[in-house]
Amino acid sequence: MSKLLGIDVGSTTVKAAVIDGENIIYSSYVRHFSRVKETVLAELEKIGKQFPGEYSVAITGSAGLGLSQRSNVAFVQEVQAAFIAIRKYYPQTDVAVELGGEDAKIIFVTGGTEQRMNGSCAGGTGAFIDQMATLLNITVEEMDKLALRAEKTYPIASRCGVFAKSDIQPLLNQGAKKEDISASIFQAVVDQTVSGLAQGRKIKGRVLFLGGPLYFLKGLRKAFKTTLKLADGDAIFPDNAPCFMSIGAALYAKNVEAEDLKSVIAKISAAKGSDDIVTGKPLFESKEEYAAFVKRHRATDLQFTDIATYAGDCYIGIDSGSTTTKLIAVTPDFKILWSHYQSNNGQPLDIVINKLKEFIKLGCGRVKIAGSAVTGYGEDLIKSAIKADFGIVETVAHFKAALHFNPKVDFIIDIGGQDIKCFKIKHGAIDSIMLNEACSSGCGSFIQTFARAMGMEIDKFSQEGLYARHPVELGSRCTVFMNSAVKQAQKEGAGVDDISAGLSSSIVKNAIYKVIRASSADELGQNIVVQGGTFLNDAVLRSFEIETGKNVIRPGIAGLMGAFGAALYAMENIRGESSTISLEELESFTYSSQSANCHGCTSNCNVNFIRFNDGRKYVSGNKCERGAGLKPVSAEYDIYSYKQGRLPESIHGNPGKMGRVGLPLQLGMYEQLPLWAGFFESLGFQVVLSEKSSRSLYFKGQHTVASDTACYPAKLMHGHIESLLDEGVDFIFMPCESYNIDEHCSTNHYNCPVVAYYPELLKANNERLNDGNFIMPYIDLNMEKSTVAKLHAVFKKYHFTKKQIKNALKEGFERLESYHADVKEKADEILWKATEAGKQIIVLAGRPYHLDPEINHGINKLLTSLNLAVLSEDSIYEKSEIVKVNVLNQWTYHARLYRAANFACSRSNVNLVQLVSFGCGLDAITTDEVRSIMEKNGKLYTQIKIDEINNLGVVKIRLRSMLAAIEEAEKHK
């Protein structure tokens, strides 16, 4: 009888299984390093030698589809393949969880069969773990071992690899333990699977765990078992887990006609690459062209001077970046005395200490450190450790450095490991700053991770791309998307060179069209300086020049520009002796780190204490001064703090004879709480508010989230509902409102679709909700008569009269008005006091629910700690005249934004920062319009995207850059 052969071609590996009769006689698992066809053929040759004869063959797997189509070998969808194998070998299974290189899948076997795969946004899992291991500079195996020794886990955004990275990087920089980070990464994978995939269905009963990562990683297994609360016997980890799909494919092959393995091999080797992929032009047509290019860029290199002979002053600049640490020592005549560039490997402080020691020793007493400055993510820590003279914002450092190379510079773009930063320069000052959003970040390190995945160093990888004939088009969105575009290209037969060149061009396009959002290259400027480590890659540099059609300046120290700028800053600004740490102090320098949760407020910041041996200590991770043990800045200049206190006061706290009503404080309720509190209390209900938002509240409701790309406020709502249900209220009230209250300053007065109809989604996806305990009437508050009638009908069982309802509504509106009036009065006070005190004022503009500290992550406190006064859009929009905008102005909350922006433009000491929830579709429209209002008035526009990620480091850089730019602009006036 013929044998059965299943081949599973995944995104990173090829798995094969041979079944003879009832026995699995062969199985294998090999990485394919993107050489899909070759790897498959090699496997087949091996099998053919060992077990010659006739085979029925089926291919499965995400990367197998194309191969099967072109070779005409049978295909079975991989979840289906798993299902077949489960039925045969583990028929008692209730749920199967499979993690692969790029996909995550859940198969519910019992209680209504259902098969689920991750959506296109949720980043890969195996690939995600690989990427994180690279970030920690350890192997996946080491990471697994470390994870088992963890003492705690940190919250890490689980939705997408790029987000997770922005969570992890600061932890690393703050000196959190690798053990704990490793475990946190695994926990993030588990959370992603449970929330992103299960979506309301509980994973319970006997659970089968499949796929490579779950087979090899014990830490991951442990995290799954603990999270799902599975007993030992109920968590099944089969020995053949990695090859499980290939076994399923082999079983499927039963229905396929058998043929000699040789003919299968012939079919596959004859399979052609398809013409589906789009390709671009080569970066360089010839070696000569490349040589000329290199020569042109050499011309802008700095000169070196020999540290072995040099005697005199020098200035130290340190750029403690997200993934790399850069140090430079510059002489007063701008020669490079010494420099160092190194991957962080998780511990930037050690690097700085060691390298600084090394440098001072090289100087043999001839070289004197006359000044020092630190910039970058790790600025605070490094500055306090080495007692640097200055700490400066990254953007300022980069601008200083660029000025040195071209005093006429009008545009700077810096692509680093994790960020893309662009500045436009006007009249010698930074005019606008564009930073990438959390979503499309990670570009530089993405190329690096990718190179390693291909088994290559980054230098070699980029060299490969220089002469590629057909660079692939990979799109220009987030790296997770790029990742799968790369996979697709590989499947279609693109070579390493084409992919390397394609990646370079993607990064450039991402920067130009997504971050800068230029519609043509001419918008950028005439004198462009490019920098950042990523531009040292000639393929990226060339792509940039091709895309912009301009020759640009890339200094030879492109990767060191931040450090160089810092050194220049120290040189310009030092007065008197430098305070920089001495060699003796360095020799005896030690430190210890410890982390704990601050319980100063509900934010529960994870605070890191680093103690230096001289007794000084450094605290990081805290959002406000409280965590650092300092007295908090007074809230008197902060409308957010005021509103947070004032809003719940709308509930007067009547005991309530009619029963207890639960109001979920999220989304629209952040605006309408006073109204509904007044309404229900006046009718004799006791009003119960949902638990305060927190990450753990989010996790509580995570299993009922239906769409993982909805905004964080919406997803948090699920937790609020759970908390009210646990509270045992008689019913939860949450109206559906297509129309918001008409404030008579826009064409229409809609709510956004999410705010308007989220109750429908909640009810459909939380099995604890029903018509009795979840009241969600459709009302339009502008129409009193119909609203009264609707509410009267909804609460029929309480036998209220229409008059009672009407009066209750009136009471509600009165409380809403009084709340608005108080907020506005407070805003007037802040405005006046701050102006008197000469403070800068920021309108932190978003939506009413951005008041939630779990959503704004305490950005208001960050602002006050920077000595700014904070107002909100709803507290001042009425001070502005009505504005006419280009877009269709049809949402109530958004109309406030435009007026708030107009108001900010009317005062010299007021600026605006727009808060945008990730995934908010409507803000794609408002942000551009608010920006254009600000820019038309010559004001800086700053936008902060917020999500579940809790990384204020980036936000801080953004805000400080903004302040530096405002300051510069003031100086030039």
Binding site: V79, G475, Q488, A714, A756, V887, L922
Partner: protein, 416 residues
């Protein structure tokens, strides 16, 4: 405060006289419907052209000119416009762009200003003209009188019948291309009716359309039927959905794509519903209800034609769709495609098409609720309901989308 601060940029307006001087470009969504509409408007004296450019540069231009987070349909539409304007085929001084606005609460009504913004730098002279019934863009609206409105409604109805019959014929045709020639004949027949008069005899015309397709020789075999629902543009447009219908055909399925008229009726009914739910303008609701009744009666009569002839499954009855919606969520969910999506998914399940691709642009807000959010309820209502939600996006790969659809199909075959 009565003062007004005006931030609007100047843009070229559309005025009626341009009918004589300008060519109007229309983005493609439903090739056969739009072909009929194009001919109808040409007969009215408009120089209309439905854009057919679908190459990769369309998407690239879209990416360059539209905000990253804006929905994919907007990106496709803007891409088609810019690519066309750059092609050199059109006299830029005498070209206008046309787009529809529903005035609903999702982003789609903002495509108009976004298009203006996108073309502002390179094509400042090109006016954008709005087709809407909500009183928007008063200075650049396309005038549609009662008579033209009725003609357009007929065009949609005929387009629907042609699409509906074609999808039920193509998978089974014995002679390759037979369904396509039936479609060509049907389209020519309809256009001819508009040219020579008699276009209003919709029963007769529908009878003829059905008979043209019924004549095509069909193989007797059972294929998996797959419903396509979702956001209006990616549901219908092959540029938007990576040619989903073709993919389904290649997977040996019968695509079931609900009629465009249902979306029109949905928009009309929403005004009626607003009257009922909130007591909004009674007179407006009355007129809309009248139009609705009229169109729905036509739909009923067409369904009768389908049943009488007997070859094809008839189009959905809109009243049935409304009742289906009521089982899942409130008809108050009216932004974007709102309640129409679960209504169609339920109606498909009830008519023997439980396998469904729910298409949506990545990050589509109404779809969070009406699409993904309602799947659980639908699965409880209909045991076999087998839905895959697919996101469309410039960077979402075809392989990724197709793999998910294949998973749905595997389950479908399992259930069969």
């Amino acid at each position: 405060m009565e003062e007004i601060r005006d931030y609007t940029n100047d843009y070229p307006k559309w005025d009626k006289s341009m009918k004589q001087t300008h060519k109007i470009l229309v983005p493609d969504m439903l090739p056969w419907h739009f072909l009929i509409i194009q001919e109808v408007l040409r007969l009215e004296g408009y120089d209309i052209e439905v854009l057919k450019n679908e190459n990769r540069t369309v998407i690239d231009e879209g990416l360059k000119h539209v905000h990253n987070d804006t929905c994919y349909p907007c990106l496709c539409v803007v891409g088609q416009y810019i690519d066309a304007l750059k092609s050199g085929k059109y006299d830029l001084e005498h070209t206008a762009l046309m787009i529809t606005q529903t005035g609903g609460g999702c982003r789609a009504s903002n495509y108009m200003p976004l298009i203006r913004k996108a073309i502002k730098a390179e094509f400042p002279q090109v006016p954008v003209v709005s087709v809407n019934f909500s009183g928007l863009e008063k200075d650049s609206s396309f005038e549609i009188g009662a008579k033209l409105f009725i003609k357009l409604a007929y065009s949609i109805i005929y387009g629907d019948s042609i699409m509906w019959c074609y999808n039920q014929t193509k998978p089974y045709e014995v002679e390759a291309g037979a369904a396509d020639s039936a479609r060509d004949m049907a389209v020519n027949y309809v256009v001819d009716k508009f040219k020579r008069g008699g276009y209003a005899k919709y029963k007769k015309i529908n009878r003829h359309i059905i008979s043209l397709f019924a004549k095509v020789e069909r193989r007797q075999e059972q294929k998996v039927k797959v419903g396509v629902v979702g956001e209006i543009y990616v549901k219908y447009s092959r540029l938007g959905n990576n040619n989903l219908e073709k993919f389904l055909l290649s997977e040996n399925c019968e695509p079931v794509v609900p009629a465009l008229l249902d979306f029109v009726l949905y928009c009309i009914v929403n005004v009626v519903n607003d009257g009922k739910l909130y007591g909004h303008s009674k007179s407006k609701a009355f007129i809309y209800n009248l139009v609705y009744k009229l169109l729905h009666r036509m739909q009923k009569n067409i369904i009768k034609e389908f049943i009488k002839e007997g070859t094809f499954m008839p189009v959905h009855d809109f009243e049935h769709l409304r009742r289906c919606a009521d089982k899942v969520l409130n008809q108050g969910v009216k932004m974007g495609e709102g309640w129409l999506i679960p209504a169609e998914m339920a109606a498909l399940a009830e008519t023997g098409v439980p396998n469904i691709v729910c298409t949506q642009p990545f990050g589509c807000l109404p779809n969070h609720i009406a699409g993904k959010g309602s799947i659980r309820t639908l699965k409880e209502l209909y045991k076999n309901e087998n839905i895959v939600a697919v996101d469309y996006d410039p960077s979402a790969t075809k392989v990724n989308q197709e793999n998910r659809i294949k998973l749905m199909l595997a389950t479908a075959r399992e259930n069969n």
